[in-house]
């Protein structure tokens, strides 16, 4: 078995240690005998259907984010990502990546920056910097990470949050919600859409890196990727996650 991880804009969107998520996905697949290829997709590159089995999209600096936003639209990569997500390809996007996949970003001045329109959410610039450790209750158990953002993201009606904030700010520091799980059928019912309830794209503000300390979420992404690629449920071999669990518990105990 083989998985291709599509790393979106790794040269521009990688400033907050998010590469750890790629490392975690790669290692956790390889430890189970699954071959992994990392495909970097950046400005000027083309993206075709089935190019990647999982997408990862990290956070970047403000200037880089502007370049990426316009490339997503100009190169049609945004559209292609959406199309692949509708097919069930899993995606993890963090901070800037999460914002760019929403409806739009409203800066302090000037017009709205249109997003890819995957997540039913929009982000408004604020003057508060939301920095610190964050713990979230989710369907993957307690997730722990670190957030550092000033954009406030609001979920639209019918959107699913990734979880409830136990410690930290989350999407906007106001509604105690963090992140978003895209829900294909409930958000945009399309005529010929598969009826199944795919929820495979995740947006979140959690750096940390997120996946190494939250291996359940990492495995969920891998499992979804295998299921879509090979057309059947594939059970992942269990790993010894004692150290992962120790690090996760230590962080939760420290911050929550």
């Amino acid at each position: 078995m083989k998985l291709v991880i599509g790393y979106l804009y790794p040269d521009l969107m990688n400033i907050y240690g998010d590469t750890g998520n790629i490392i975690a996905l790669k290692k956790r697949a390889e430890w189970r005998g699954i071959e992994v290829e990392i495909k970097n997709i950046s400005i000027g590159d083309r993206l075709k259907p089935r190019d990647a089995d999982i997408f990862f999209f990290g956070g970047g600096q403000d200037m880089a984010q502007g370049l990426v936003a316009s490339d997503l639209v100009k190169s049609d990569k945004g559209k292609m990502i959406r199309q692949e997500i509708e097919r069930g390809v899993p995606l993890l996007s963090i901070c800037g990546g999460y914002q760019l996949l929403g409806d739009y970003y409203g800066p302090h001045e000037g017009s709205k920056l249109p997003g890819v329109g995957l997540f039913p959410a929009y982000t408004i610039a604020s003057y508060d910097r939301m920095i610190g450790n964050i713990v979230v209750e989710s369907e993957f158990g307690k997730l722990v990470g670190f957030e550092n953002h000033s954009g406030k993201t609001h979920l639209k009606k019918g959107a699913h949050a990734l979880g409830k904030v136990l410690q930290g700010f989350g999407n906007n520091g106001e509604d105690a919600l963090e992140g978003c799980i895209y829900n294909a059928t409930r958000y945009k019912k399309r005529r010929d859409e598969i009826a199944s309830d795919y929820k495979n794209a995740i947006g979140t503000y959690m750096h940390g890196s997120l996946l190494p300390k939250n291996p359940k979420l990492a495995d969920w992404l891998l499992q979804k990727a295998l299921a879509i690629k090979y057309g059947k449920e594939i059970q992942l071999k269990p790993l010894d996650d004692a150290l992962e669990e120790k690090a996760r518990q230590a962080a939760i105990a420290k911050f929550c």
Binding site: A64, I131, H207, S209
Partner: protein, 428 residues
């Protein structure tokens, strides 16, 4: 000023700190213009800023200057905020103007630079690099450089500005300054910094290190090429990053008209600063603060590690370390394909690794994902106990890689055991 001197004496006598920032803190509360009053009386002021290498560069330059007979004042204990400068001025400023220092060397961190520059009116400024560092404190690299640019716009055009020409982010500063700028860098093994979109144009350097030979932990040698002469140099501190620090110190020294003879002479006895490749009986201490610096340290260290050596990585998440530990995932452990990182030509890693600090578990996990067998990793949050355990049965050398506050803690431990002097008692 008398009051500041009093606080300085008290903190040192009561042993509640090196006395490196507290007197300045109180003095600034009483007289906010203190820095300006005192600093403006010193004939020459040099500013060193950047993410990595400030302390080593300042220390080298101070040594060159002293060798040539100049009287130097500097904020030398890594206390590089405004109050560190005020404290240095208070404790070393003579009461007689006839004893004034000839030269002030101030290291300023990314943020303090913009605040202090307009007050200090320096004669020379050197920009070492701009790497991502403690994003929760300093912000993103782009915004750091942008603020430097704004500050430079109002600096006197007669000021001598020197820039690391290999760091793509810094090159943009050339256009922010009305006067002329000189650059330094390396012919090969360049550390190009954070800018993702590489510029194709190779930039012509005014000072360039060529034919660089790295000699393990003992140092390096290279040919220094300037626009009109060459100088063969042997550096007694290891790693590519120290070549950059030396170039910066050298250029400043030349601008001060210090002869090569003094420079090369004093280099022979150069001792790195406070936890920067510091050598002890048991091994070495290498401070790690950010991904680029830590990767550089590992690249220097990895080929030198032997199977009976040990590693102790101490990761804290206090304010001065950065509260976000995500950066450890950007350290390129994967690239160091040698022991103890588990890749040594089919041989499984033998070198034992200890992790400590407030976020020891995170560091252990990072190592696991760099293919180090978790069975080889001992976790002990308490640094004192970790340090003791790591030395039990130690046959080789112990390499300690602490973050900033872990380094301070180590200094106290080593002092307590008589393995090290109080850092403020060290000769400057």
């Amino acid at each position: 000023m008398i009051l500041g001197k009093g606080v300085h004496f008290l903190t040192r006598t009561l042993n509640i700190g090196g006395g490196s920032a507290a007197p300045g803190y109180y003095a600034l509360k009483i007289d906010p213009d203190l820095v300006v009053h005192l600093a403006s009386q010193i004939p020459c002021t040099i500013i060193i800023t950047g993410t990595n290498g400030k302390t080593t560069t300042a220390r080298m330059l101070a040594q060159f200057a002293k060798e040539s007979g100049l009287k130097v004042i500097r904020n030398h204990t890594g206390s590089n905020l405004e109050r560190g400068i005020a404290s240095a001025l208070l404790s070393h400023f003579p009461l007689l103007t006839s004893h004034l220092p000839d030269l002030a060397i101030w290291e300023l961190d990314e943020a303090a630079f913009n605040k202090v520059i307009p007050k200090l009116k320096p004669d020379m400024i050197v920009f070492l690099n701009a790497f991502r560092d403690q994003l929760d404190r300093y912000g993103e690299v782009d915004s750091v450089v942008k603020k430097w640019c704004q500050t430079l716009k109002v600096v006197d055009p007669k000021t001598s500005i020197f820039i690391n020409g290999d760091d793509h982010n810094l090159l943009a500063l050339k256009d922010c300054f009305k006067g002329s700028v000189q650059t330094f860098g390396l012919e090969s093994n360049k550390i190009t910094g954070e800018r993702a979109t590489m510029q194709n144009k190779t930039h012509k350097l005014d000072f360039e290190a060529r034919n660089i030979k790295l000699n393990g932990l003992t140092g390096s040698s290279f040919l220094l090429q300037t626009t009109n002469y060459k100088l063969q140099t042997t550096l007694p501190v290891p790693g590519i990053y120290h070549v950059y620090n030396f170039l910066a110190a050298y250029i400043l020294a030349k601008k001060l008209d210090i002869s090569d003879e003094y420079i090369l002479n004093s280099l022979k006895t150069f001792q790195p600063a406070f936890g920067r490749v510091e050598k002890f009986d048991f091994g070495y201490i290498f401070l790690i603060k950010n991904p680029t610096g830590a990767t550089q340290v590992l690249q220097t260290l990895a080929p030198e590690l032997k199977s009976n050596d040990r590693l102790l990585l101490a990761l804290n998440d206090n304010l001065a370390d950065g509260t976000d530990v995500s950066w450890i995932w950007d350290i390129d452990f994967e690239q160091c394909k040698v022991q103890p990182f588990g890749f040594a030509q089919g041989e499984s890693a033998k070198c034992k690794v200890f992790v400590s600090g407030t976020r020891a578990e995170d560091m252990a996990l990072r190592l696991k994902y760099a293919d180090i067998d978790p069975k080889q990793i001992a976790i002990e949050n308490n640094l004192e106990r970790a340090f003791e355990e790591a030395r039990i049965g130690l046959k080789g050398r112990l390499f300690i890689l602490p973050t900033y506050t872990a380094l301070l803690e180590l200094q106290r431990l080593l002092t307590k055991r008589g393995l090290k002097k109080h850092y403020w008692k060290e000769a400057t």
